[in-house]
Symmetry: C2
Subunit: 244 residues, 2 copies
Protein backbone atom coordinates (compact mmCIF):
# COMPACT_ATOMS: atom_id res chain seq x y z
CA UNK A 1 0.00 0.00 0.00
CA UNK A 2 1.20 3.53 -0.84
CA UNK A 3 2.88 5.16 2.13
CA UNK A 4 3.52 8.80 3.05
CA UNK A 5 5.35 10.42 5.94
CA UNK A 6 3.54 13.35 7.55
CA UNK A 7 4.80 15.10 10.67
CA UNK A 8 2.65 14.52 13.74
CA UNK A 9 1.78 18.23 13.86
CA UNK A 10 -0.04 17.85 10.52
CA UNK A 11 -2.26 15.08 11.81
CA UNK A 12 -5.18 16.37 13.90
CA UNK A 13 -8.98 16.35 14.13
CA UNK A 14 -9.12 12.97 12.44
CA UNK A 15 -7.45 14.35 9.31
CA UNK A 16 -3.91 14.09 7.88
CA UNK A 17 -2.72 17.15 5.92
CA UNK A 18 -0.20 16.34 3.18
CA UNK A 19 2.24 18.71 1.45
CA UNK A 20 2.08 19.82 -2.18
CA UNK A 21 4.88 17.44 -3.13
CA UNK A 22 3.04 14.54 -1.48
CA UNK A 23 -0.06 15.63 -3.36
CA UNK A 24 1.92 15.46 -6.60
CA UNK A 25 3.18 12.00 -5.62
CA UNK A 26 -0.41 10.88 -4.92
CA UNK A 27 -1.36 12.04 -8.43
CA UNK A 28 1.58 10.20 -10.00
CA UNK A 29 0.44 7.02 -8.21
CA UNK A 30 -3.09 7.70 -9.59
CA UNK A 31 -4.58 7.66 -6.10
CA UNK A 32 -7.98 9.41 -6.34
CA UNK A 33 -10.51 10.71 -3.83
CA UNK A 34 -12.07 7.81 -1.93
CA UNK A 35 -8.99 5.61 -2.23
CA UNK A 36 -7.13 4.29 0.79
CA UNK A 37 -3.40 4.69 1.58
CA UNK A 38 -1.13 4.82 4.63
CA UNK A 39 0.19 7.90 6.40
CA UNK A 40 2.98 7.41 8.94
CA UNK A 41 3.88 10.05 11.53
CA UNK A 42 7.54 8.96 11.45
CA UNK A 43 7.21 8.22 15.09
CA UNK A 44 5.93 4.69 15.20
CA UNK A 45 2.26 5.12 14.23
CA UNK A 46 0.62 4.26 10.90
CA UNK A 47 -2.72 5.82 9.92
CA UNK A 48 -4.99 4.13 7.43
CA UNK A 49 -6.46 7.06 5.47
CA UNK A 50 -8.92 7.77 2.70
CA UNK A 51 -8.16 10.65 0.31
CA UNK A 52 -10.76 13.43 0.53
CA UNK A 53 -9.07 16.34 -1.32
CA UNK A 54 -5.98 16.74 -3.47
CA UNK A 55 -4.78 19.71 -5.49
CA UNK A 56 -1.60 21.66 -6.24
CA UNK A 57 -1.48 23.12 -2.72
CA UNK A 58 -1.65 19.83 -0.85
CA UNK A 59 -3.99 17.03 0.10
CA UNK A 60 -6.24 15.97 2.94
CA UNK A 61 -7.09 12.45 4.03
CA UNK A 62 -9.61 11.26 6.59
CA UNK A 63 -8.18 8.87 9.17
CA UNK A 64 -9.95 5.50 9.28
CA UNK A 65 -7.78 3.83 11.91
CA UNK A 66 -4.33 3.61 13.45
CA UNK A 67 -1.81 0.82 14.09
CA UNK A 68 1.78 0.68 15.29
CA UNK A 69 4.33 0.82 12.43
CA UNK A 70 5.92 -2.60 11.98
CA UNK A 71 8.93 -1.51 9.94
CA UNK A 72 11.20 -0.29 12.76
CA UNK A 73 13.77 -2.79 14.03
CA UNK A 74 14.30 -3.28 17.75
CA UNK A 75 18.02 -2.51 17.43
CA UNK A 76 19.17 0.97 16.38
CA UNK A 77 22.03 0.67 13.90
CA UNK A 78 23.83 3.77 12.64
CA UNK A 79 26.08 3.41 9.60
CA UNK A 80 29.20 5.57 9.49
CA UNK A 81 30.37 5.66 5.88
CA UNK A 82 33.37 7.53 4.51
CA UNK A 83 32.78 9.80 1.50
CA UNK A 84 33.01 7.67 -1.61
CA UNK A 85 33.26 8.31 -5.33
CA UNK A 86 30.39 8.17 -7.82
CA UNK A 87 26.99 7.20 -6.49
CA UNK A 88 28.22 4.81 -3.80
CA UNK A 89 26.99 6.89 -0.86
CA UNK A 90 23.59 7.16 -2.59
CA UNK A 91 23.48 3.41 -3.17
CA UNK A 92 24.34 2.64 0.45
CA UNK A 93 21.79 5.10 1.85
CA UNK A 94 18.97 3.57 -0.22
CA UNK A 95 19.81 -0.03 0.73
CA UNK A 96 20.63 0.82 4.37
CA UNK A 97 17.11 2.25 4.80
CA UNK A 98 15.56 -0.95 3.39
CA UNK A 99 17.75 -3.07 5.64
CA UNK A 100 16.69 -1.13 8.72
CA UNK A 101 19.46 1.37 9.57
CA UNK A 102 18.39 4.16 11.92
CA UNK A 103 20.64 6.67 10.19
CA UNK A 104 23.67 7.16 7.97
CA UNK A 105 26.51 9.49 8.92
CA UNK A 106 29.12 10.49 6.32
CA UNK A 107 32.65 11.49 7.31
CA UNK A 108 36.03 12.24 5.72
CA UNK A 109 38.83 9.71 6.06
CA UNK A 110 42.52 10.03 5.04
CA UNK A 111 42.17 7.99 1.85
CA UNK A 112 38.93 9.61 0.70
CA UNK A 113 39.25 10.82 -2.88
CA UNK A 114 35.96 12.71 -2.72
CA UNK A 115 35.56 15.21 0.11
CA UNK A 116 32.60 17.51 -0.49
CA UNK A 117 32.38 20.75 1.49
CA UNK A 118 30.23 23.83 1.84
CA UNK A 119 27.26 24.12 -0.50
CA UNK A 120 28.24 20.99 -2.45
CA UNK A 121 28.02 19.01 0.78
CA UNK A 122 24.72 20.64 1.76
CA UNK A 123 23.26 19.72 -1.64
CA UNK A 124 24.50 16.18 -1.32
CA UNK A 125 23.01 15.67 2.14
CA UNK A 126 19.69 17.06 0.91
CA UNK A 127 19.78 14.62 -2.03
CA UNK A 128 20.68 11.70 0.25
CA UNK A 129 17.90 12.65 2.67
CA UNK A 130 15.40 12.54 -0.20
CA UNK A 131 16.69 9.11 -1.20
CA UNK A 132 16.26 7.99 2.42
CA UNK A 133 12.67 9.26 2.51
CA UNK A 134 11.76 7.60 -0.79
CA UNK A 135 13.29 4.32 0.38
CA UNK A 136 11.50 4.56 3.75
CA UNK A 137 8.14 5.03 1.96
CA UNK A 138 8.83 2.16 -0.40
CA UNK A 139 10.00 -0.41 2.13
CA UNK A 140 7.51 0.41 4.88
CA UNK A 141 9.62 2.01 7.60
CA UNK A 142 8.00 3.62 10.64
CA UNK A 143 10.45 6.54 10.60
CA UNK A 144 12.62 8.25 8.00
CA UNK A 145 16.29 7.51 8.75
CA UNK A 146 18.45 10.61 9.00
CA UNK A 147 21.46 11.36 6.81
CA UNK A 148 24.06 13.71 8.24
CA UNK A 149 27.74 14.58 7.79
CA UNK A 150 30.60 15.16 10.22
CA UNK A 151 33.70 17.29 9.70
CA UNK A 152 36.34 14.82 10.77
CA UNK A 153 37.19 11.18 11.31
CA UNK A 154 37.83 11.91 15.00
CA UNK A 155 34.32 13.26 15.43
CA UNK A 156 32.89 10.18 13.70
CA UNK A 157 34.82 7.88 16.06
CA UNK A 158 33.67 9.86 19.07
CA UNK A 159 30.04 9.66 17.98
CA UNK A 160 30.25 5.95 17.05
CA UNK A 161 31.90 5.09 20.37
CA UNK A 162 28.83 6.24 22.27
CA UNK A 163 26.76 3.22 21.14
CA UNK A 164 26.58 -0.14 22.93
CA UNK A 165 28.48 -1.94 20.14
CA UNK A 166 30.81 0.34 18.14
CA UNK A 167 32.05 -1.78 15.22
CA UNK A 168 35.06 -0.63 13.21
CA UNK A 169 35.18 -2.73 9.99
CA UNK A 170 38.86 -2.99 9.15
CA UNK A 171 40.33 -4.98 6.27
CA UNK A 172 43.63 -5.55 8.10
CA UNK A 173 41.85 -7.11 11.05
CA UNK A 174 42.34 -10.87 10.88
CA UNK A 175 41.05 -12.31 14.13
CA UNK A 176 38.10 -10.52 15.66
CA UNK A 177 34.85 -11.38 13.95
CA UNK A 178 31.54 -9.57 13.82
CA UNK A 179 29.70 -12.40 15.58
CA UNK A 180 32.05 -12.44 18.58
CA UNK A 181 31.72 -8.67 18.93
CA UNK A 182 27.92 -8.90 18.88
CA UNK A 183 27.83 -11.94 21.19
CA UNK A 184 29.96 -10.02 23.70
CA UNK A 185 27.17 -7.44 24.12
CA UNK A 186 23.90 -9.32 24.65
CA UNK A 187 20.84 -7.07 24.77
CA UNK A 188 22.62 -4.22 23.00
CA UNK A 189 20.13 -1.57 21.83
CA UNK A 190 22.45 0.62 19.76
CA UNK A 191 25.13 -0.41 17.27
CA UNK A 192 27.51 1.61 15.11
CA UNK A 193 28.97 0.19 11.91
CA UNK A 194 31.91 2.21 10.58
CA UNK A 195 33.42 1.51 7.16
CA UNK A 196 36.19 3.21 5.18
CA UNK A 197 36.60 4.66 1.68
CA UNK A 198 37.76 2.87 -1.50
CA UNK A 199 41.37 2.63 -0.30
CA UNK A 200 40.45 1.43 3.18
CA UNK A 201 41.36 3.00 6.51
CA UNK A 202 44.84 4.26 7.29
CA UNK A 203 46.47 2.18 10.11
CA UNK A 204 46.69 5.34 12.24
CA UNK A 205 42.93 5.75 11.92
CA UNK A 206 42.39 2.14 12.99
CA UNK A 207 44.69 2.73 15.96
CA UNK A 208 42.74 5.80 17.04
CA UNK A 209 39.38 4.03 16.69
CA UNK A 210 40.48 1.14 18.91
CA UNK A 211 42.06 3.53 21.43
CA UNK A 212 38.70 5.31 21.70
CA UNK A 213 36.91 2.04 22.43
CA UNK A 214 35.73 0.85 19.04
CA UNK A 215 35.88 -2.87 18.25
CA UNK A 216 37.98 -3.60 15.19
CA UNK A 217 36.34 -6.46 13.24
CA UNK A 218 36.97 -8.35 10.02
CA UNK A 219 34.21 -8.96 7.49
CA UNK A 220 35.70 -12.25 6.36
CA UNK A 221 38.36 -13.38 3.94
CA UNK A 222 37.07 -11.69 0.82
CA UNK A 223 37.83 -8.02 0.23
CA UNK A 224 34.51 -6.18 0.15
CA UNK A 225 34.11 -2.96 -1.84
CA UNK A 226 33.43 0.19 0.12
CA UNK A 227 29.75 0.09 -0.84
CA UNK A 228 29.36 -3.63 -0.05
CA UNK A 229 30.99 -3.69 3.39
CA UNK A 230 28.57 -1.40 5.30
CA UNK A 231 25.51 -3.21 3.91
CA UNK A 232 26.98 -6.65 4.68
CA UNK A 233 27.77 -5.62 8.26
CA UNK A 234 24.33 -4.02 8.70
CA UNK A 235 22.62 -7.16 7.34
CA UNK A 236 24.64 -9.35 9.72
CA UNK A 237 23.65 -7.21 12.73
CA UNK A 238 19.97 -7.35 11.71
CA UNK A 239 20.14 -11.11 11.20
CA UNK A 240 21.89 -11.56 14.54
CA UNK A 241 19.18 -9.61 16.35
CA UNK A 242 16.32 -11.50 14.70
CA UNK A 243 15.32 -8.67 12.37
CA UNK A 244 15.93 -10.64 9.17
Amino acid sequence: MARFFVSASNIFGGVAYLSSSDSEHLRSLRIRNGEVFTVCDGNGTDYSCVLTRSDRDGAEAKILGTSPSVGEPSVQVTLFMAYAKGDKNEHVVQKAVELGARGVILFPSRRCVARPEGSALAKRILRLSRIAEEAAKQCGRGAVPTVTALDSFEEAVERASMTDVPLFCYENETDAGLKAALDACPGARTVSVMCGPEGGFDPAEAGLAVERGMRSVTLGKRILRCETAPLAALTAVMFHTGEL
Copy 2:
Protein backbone atom coordinates in the same frame (compact mmCIF):
# COMPACT_ATOMS: atom_id res chain seq x y z
CA MET B 1 48.00 -7.85 -4.69
CA ALA B 2 46.89 -8.14 -8.34
CA ARG B 3 45.16 -11.45 -9.02
CA PHE B 4 44.57 -13.40 -12.24
CA PHE B 5 42.71 -16.61 -12.97
CA VAL B 6 44.56 -19.06 -15.22
CA SER B 7 43.24 -22.54 -15.98
CA ALA B 8 45.30 -25.33 -14.41
CA SER B 9 46.27 -26.57 -17.89
CA ASN B 10 48.17 -23.33 -18.49
CA ILE B 11 50.27 -23.77 -15.36
CA PHE B 12 53.18 -26.19 -15.85
CA GLY B 13 56.97 -26.47 -15.66
CA GLY B 14 57.08 -23.84 -12.93
CA VAL B 15 55.51 -21.25 -15.25
CA ALA B 16 52.02 -19.75 -15.55
CA TYR B 17 50.96 -18.78 -19.09
CA LEU B 18 48.52 -15.88 -19.24
CA SER B 19 46.17 -14.90 -22.10
CA SER B 20 46.49 -11.80 -24.27
CA SER B 21 43.65 -10.12 -22.39
CA ASP B 22 45.35 -10.84 -19.06
CA SER B 23 48.54 -9.43 -20.56
CA GLU B 24 46.64 -6.26 -21.43
CA HIS B 25 45.25 -6.11 -17.91
CA LEU B 26 48.81 -6.51 -16.49
CA ARG B 27 49.87 -3.54 -18.63
CA SER B 28 46.93 -1.43 -17.47
CA LEU B 29 47.94 -2.19 -13.87
CA ARG B 30 51.53 -1.14 -14.81
CA ILE B 31 52.92 -4.48 -13.63
CA ARG B 32 56.34 -4.84 -15.27
CA ASN B 33 58.85 -7.70 -15.64
CA GLY B 34 60.26 -8.64 -12.24
CA GLU B 35 57.12 -7.64 -10.36
CA VAL B 36 55.16 -10.07 -8.25
CA PHE B 37 51.43 -10.89 -8.52
CA THR B 38 49.08 -13.79 -7.81
CA VAL B 39 47.80 -16.39 -10.23
CA CYS B 40 44.92 -18.62 -9.11
CA ASP B 41 44.01 -21.85 -10.86
CA GLY B 42 40.34 -21.37 -9.98
CA ASN B 43 40.52 -24.63 -8.16
CA GLY B 44 41.71 -23.69 -4.72
CA THR B 45 45.41 -22.96 -5.29
CA ASP B 46 47.13 -19.57 -5.42
CA TYR B 47 50.54 -19.17 -7.10
CA SER B 48 52.83 -16.33 -6.15
CA CYS B 49 54.44 -15.38 -9.49
CA VAL B 50 57.01 -12.98 -10.92
CA LEU B 51 56.37 -11.56 -14.40
CA THR B 52 59.05 -12.66 -16.90
CA ARG B 53 57.48 -11.77 -20.27
CA SER B 54 54.48 -9.76 -21.42
CA ASP B 55 53.43 -8.72 -24.93
CA ARG B 56 50.33 -8.55 -27.12
CA ASP B 57 50.16 -12.35 -27.45
CA GLY B 58 50.17 -13.12 -23.74
CA ALA B 59 52.41 -13.21 -20.71
CA GLU B 60 54.55 -15.65 -18.75
CA ALA B 61 55.27 -15.65 -15.04
CA LYS B 62 57.67 -17.77 -13.04
CA ILE B 63 56.09 -19.46 -10.04
CA LEU B 64 57.75 -18.59 -6.73
CA GLY B 65 55.47 -20.56 -4.42
CA THR B 66 51.98 -21.91 -3.85
CA SER B 67 49.38 -21.62 -1.11
CA PRO B 68 45.74 -22.63 -0.73
CA SER B 69 43.30 -19.92 -1.82
CA VAL B 70 41.66 -18.43 1.26
CA GLY B 71 38.74 -16.75 -0.50
CA GLU B 72 36.42 -19.76 -0.86
CA PRO B 73 33.76 -20.16 1.81
CA SER B 74 33.10 -23.55 3.37
CA VAL B 75 29.43 -23.41 2.43
CA GLN B 76 28.36 -23.43 -1.22
CA VAL B 77 25.58 -20.92 -1.79
CA THR B 78 23.89 -20.62 -5.17
CA LEU B 79 21.72 -17.56 -5.83
CA PHE B 80 18.65 -18.05 -8.01
CA MET B 81 17.59 -14.62 -9.22
CA ALA B 82 14.68 -13.80 -11.50
CA TYR B 83 15.41 -11.63 -14.55
CA ALA B 84 15.23 -8.01 -13.48
CA LYS B 85 15.12 -4.65 -15.24
CA GLY B 86 18.06 -2.31 -15.77
CA ASP B 87 21.39 -3.36 -14.34
CA LYS B 88 20.03 -5.16 -11.28
CA ASN B 89 21.19 -8.62 -12.33
CA GLU B 90 24.66 -7.14 -13.00
CA HIS B 91 24.72 -5.46 -9.61
CA VAL B 92 23.72 -8.64 -7.81
CA VAL B 93 26.30 -10.79 -9.65
CA GLN B 94 29.13 -8.42 -8.73
CA LYS B 95 28.18 -8.21 -5.05
CA ALA B 96 27.28 -11.91 -4.77
CA VAL B 97 30.80 -12.83 -5.90
CA GLU B 98 32.32 -10.55 -3.24
CA LEU B 99 30.02 -12.00 -0.60
CA GLY B 100 31.04 -15.55 -1.48
CA ALA B 101 28.31 -17.06 -3.69
CA ARG B 102 29.34 -20.15 -5.61
CA GLY B 103 27.22 -19.23 -8.58
CA VAL B 104 24.25 -17.20 -9.81
CA ILE B 105 21.44 -18.75 -11.84
CA LEU B 106 18.94 -16.53 -13.65
CA PHE B 107 15.41 -17.68 -14.40
CA PRO B 108 12.09 -16.32 -15.70
CA SER B 109 9.22 -15.83 -13.28
CA ARG B 110 5.58 -14.85 -13.99
CA ARG B 111 5.97 -11.22 -13.02
CA CYS B 112 9.29 -10.68 -14.80
CA VAL B 113 9.11 -7.62 -17.03
CA ALA B 114 12.43 -8.41 -18.71
CA ARG B 115 12.79 -11.88 -20.22
CA PRO B 116 15.83 -12.06 -22.48
CA GLU B 117 16.06 -14.94 -24.97
CA GLY B 118 18.27 -16.26 -27.73
CA SER B 119 21.29 -14.18 -28.64
CA ALA B 120 20.31 -11.34 -26.26
CA LEU B 121 20.39 -13.84 -23.40
CA ALA B 122 23.70 -15.33 -24.56
CA LYS B 123 25.25 -11.84 -24.67
CA ARG B 124 23.91 -11.06 -21.25
CA ILE B 125 25.27 -14.25 -19.67
CA LEU B 126 28.67 -13.54 -21.25
CA ARG B 127 28.62 -10.02 -19.83
CA LEU B 128 27.59 -11.28 -16.39
CA SER B 129 30.32 -13.94 -16.47
CA ARG B 130 32.91 -11.22 -17.17
CA ILE B 131 31.56 -9.20 -14.25
CA ALA B 132 31.87 -12.32 -12.06
CA GLU B 133 35.48 -12.87 -13.13
CA GLU B 134 36.45 -9.24 -12.52
CA ALA B 135 34.80 -9.32 -9.09
CA ALA B 136 36.51 -12.64 -8.24
CA LYS B 137 39.92 -11.15 -9.12
CA GLN B 138 39.23 -8.01 -7.15
CA CYS B 139 37.94 -9.63 -3.96
CA GLY B 140 40.37 -12.55 -3.81
CA ARG B 141 38.20 -15.57 -4.60
CA GLY B 142 39.77 -18.99 -5.16
CA ALA B 143 37.38 -19.80 -8.02
CA VAL B 144 35.32 -17.79 -10.49
CA PRO B 145 31.61 -18.20 -9.69
CA THR B 146 29.51 -19.34 -12.62
CA VAL B 147 26.59 -17.42 -14.09
CA THR B 148 24.00 -19.45 -15.98
CA ALA B 149 20.36 -19.19 -17.06
CA LEU B 150 17.44 -21.61 -16.95
CA ASP B 151 14.41 -21.68 -19.23
CA SER B 152 11.69 -21.91 -16.62
CA PHE B 153 10.75 -21.29 -13.03
CA GLU B 154 10.00 -25.02 -12.63
CA GLU B 155 13.54 -25.91 -13.68
CA ALA B 156 14.94 -23.37 -11.23
CA VAL B 157 12.91 -24.87 -8.38
CA GLU B 158 13.99 -28.37 -9.33
CA ARG B 159 17.65 -27.36 -9.34
CA ALA B 160 17.40 -25.34 -6.11
CA SER B 161 15.63 -28.21 -4.33
CA MET B 162 18.66 -30.42 -4.75
CA THR B 163 20.69 -28.50 -2.15
CA ASP B 164 20.77 -29.15 1.59
CA VAL B 165 18.90 -25.92 2.40
CA PRO B 166 16.68 -24.66 -0.44
CA LEU B 167 15.48 -21.21 0.64
CA PHE B 168 12.56 -19.56 -1.13
CA CYS B 169 12.49 -15.88 -0.12
CA TYR B 170 8.84 -14.90 -0.23
CA GLU B 171 7.41 -11.52 0.73
CA ASN B 172 4.05 -13.02 1.74
CA GLU B 173 5.70 -15.40 4.16
CA THR B 174 5.13 -14.09 7.67
CA ASP B 175 6.29 -16.78 10.07
CA ALA B 176 9.25 -18.84 8.93
CA GLY B 177 12.52 -17.01 9.32
CA LEU B 178 15.89 -17.52 7.66
CA LYS B 179 17.59 -18.39 10.93
CA ALA B 180 15.14 -21.17 11.82
CA ALA B 181 15.55 -22.66 8.34
CA LEU B 182 19.34 -22.63 8.66
CA ASP B 183 19.31 -23.91 12.25
CA ALA B 184 17.13 -26.83 11.13
CA CYS B 185 19.96 -28.08 8.89
CA PRO B 186 23.18 -28.07 10.93
CA GLY B 187 26.27 -28.97 8.92
CA ALA B 188 24.63 -28.08 5.61
CA ARG B 189 27.19 -27.81 2.80
CA THR B 190 24.98 -26.47 0.03
CA VAL B 191 22.37 -23.73 0.18
CA SER B 192 20.10 -22.23 -2.48
CA VAL B 193 18.70 -18.73 -2.14
CA MET B 194 15.83 -18.00 -4.56
CA CYS B 195 14.42 -14.48 -4.97
CA GLY B 196 11.75 -13.07 -7.29
CA PRO B 197 11.48 -10.15 -9.72
CA GLU B 198 10.38 -6.56 -9.02
CA GLY B 199 6.72 -7.56 -8.51
CA GLY B 200 7.53 -10.54 -6.31
CA PHE B 201 6.54 -14.17 -6.82
CA ASP B 202 3.07 -15.20 -7.87
CA PRO B 203 1.31 -17.21 -5.10
CA ALA B 204 1.08 -20.20 -7.49
CA GLU B 205 4.88 -20.11 -7.85
CA ALA B 206 5.29 -20.03 -4.07
CA GLY B 207 2.93 -23.00 -3.81
CA LEU B 208 4.92 -25.00 -6.33
CA ALA B 209 8.24 -24.20 -4.66
CA VAL B 210 7.02 -25.41 -1.27
CA GLU B 211 5.40 -28.49 -2.83
CA ARG B 212 8.80 -29.38 -4.33
CA GLY B 213 10.51 -29.13 -0.97
CA MET B 214 11.75 -25.56 -0.82
CA ARG B 215 11.53 -23.68 2.49
CA SER B 216 9.53 -20.48 2.20
CA VAL B 217 11.16 -17.80 4.38
CA THR B 218 10.57 -14.15 5.18
CA LEU B 219 13.39 -11.60 5.07
CA GLY B 220 11.87 -9.50 7.84
CA LYS B 221 9.27 -6.79 8.10
CA ARG B 222 10.66 -4.35 5.59
CA ILE B 223 10.01 -4.88 1.88
CA LEU B 224 13.36 -5.45 0.20
CA ARG B 225 13.90 -4.54 -3.45
CA CYS B 226 14.58 -7.38 -5.85
CA GLU B 227 18.29 -6.52 -5.94
CA THR B 228 18.58 -6.15 -2.15
CA ALA B 229 16.85 -9.38 -1.10
CA PRO B 230 19.26 -11.94 -2.62
CA LEU B 231 22.31 -10.13 -1.23
CA ALA B 232 20.75 -9.79 2.22
CA ALA B 233 19.88 -13.51 2.31
CA LEU B 234 23.34 -14.48 1.04
CA THR B 235 25.01 -12.27 3.66
CA ALA B 236 22.89 -13.83 6.39
CA VAL B 237 23.84 -17.37 5.30
CA MET B 238 27.53 -16.43 5.25
CA PHE B 239 27.30 -14.79 8.66
CA HIS B 240 25.44 -17.80 10.05
CA THR B 241 28.14 -20.19 8.83
CA GLY B 242 31.01 -18.11 10.23
CA GLU B 243 32.14 -16.75 6.85
CA LEU B 244 31.55 -13.11 7.75
